[in-house]
């Protein structure tokens, strides 16, 4: 059974269409994708994760990492995989977007990138 859908446990792994395309572009096998989803479900937050705003980056194999967001609904806890790319690529892009292109982003993207405001920013 795929790790992405129909899992009876409350922690579920889902992915966006963009992430799906990233996996295809890098020819990541279905088994490997399932293993990544399984690891994220078992360890949603790792001390090794890079946290940038509300986006988290985790190296899942040599030289590659997934970008994901943790979220919660009334029924379940969601690990939403939003991207898969070479290590460092997504972090560099996020850094650029934050620094130079924040205003160009649509509100939902902006919120994810900004993350939680610090007390001194409120």
């Amino acid at each position: 059974m795929s790790e992405f859908e129909g899992n009876p446990v409350k922690v579920v792994a889902q992915r966006t269409e963009v992430a799906d395309r990233n996996f295809s572009d890098w020819r990541v096998s279905a088994e490997r994708q399932d293993a990544i989803a399984r690891q994220l479900k078992e360890v949603p937050r790792s001390v090794d994760d890079i946290e940038d705003g509300n986006v988290r980056l985790r190296e899942v194999e040599d030289g590659f990492e997934v970008a994901f967001v943790l979220a919660v609904t009334d029924e379940k806890f969601i690990v939403l995989i939003i991207g898969y790319d070479r290590k460092g690529e997504m972090e560099a892009s996020m850094s650029y977007l934050k620094r130079a292109a924040m205003d160009a982003l649509p509100p939902p993207a902006k919120t994810l990138l900004e993350g939680r405001k610090r007390k001194d920013e409120l």
């Binding site: 949603p44 790792s46 509300n54 979220a71 939403l80 892009s93």
Partner: protein, 157 residues
């Protein structure tokens, strides 16, 4: 300048456009699901316990954990080998059947033809000195000329 013009003006690098698209779609999906984002630092307690935050890396595992992992790997390898063997057997049986044989027939040692006709004719060992066309290999029943000759001590060997 509307939002999309502004975006294309700023996001000139493909990687940045890709990341913006990732973020935008993630935001849309979460909104569709009615999910609330959990910011780093706001995770529930069960998620931040030291056990839950440790990635299964061998370098951080204890000897007992490594031994357990080793046992599981060995067990999985045995299961995998058995499954591969079963698949190989099925494939071989299918291939043999396509040629009209069972696998057992192909693997059995070749059957030797032991019929009388296939046996090589033994070379003659004795010859009748009175009639060289009469010979005897020394096997089986003695021919009459041989018996007679041996009685007369005239056999030529």
């Amino acid at each position: 300048m509307n939002s999309s013009n502004k975006q294309s003006a700023v996001l000139t690098k493909a990687a940045d456009q890709k990341m913006a698209a990732r973020l935008q779609q993630a935001g849309e999906v979460l909104s569709f699901l009615g999910a609330r984002v959990i910011a780093p630092g706001d995770e529930p307690e069960w998620m931040t316990s030291s056990e839950r935050t440790r990635l299964p890396k061998m370098q951080t595992m204890s000897l007992q954990e490594l031994e357990k992992l080793q046992r599981e790997v060995r067990k999985t390898m045995v299961e995998l080998e058995q499954r591969n063997r079963k698949e190989a057997l099925a494939a071989a049986q299918k291939a043999a059947a396509e040629h009209g044989f069972s696998l057992e027939e192909i693997l059995a040692p070749e059957v030797k033809d032991t019929s009388r006709a296939s046996r090589a004719k033994p070379s003659p060992k004795y010859r009748n000195p009175d009639n060289p066309s009469q010979t005897w290999s020394g096997r089986g029943r003695q021919p009459a000329w041989f018996e007679k000759a041996t009685k007369n001590q005239k056999t030529e060997q």
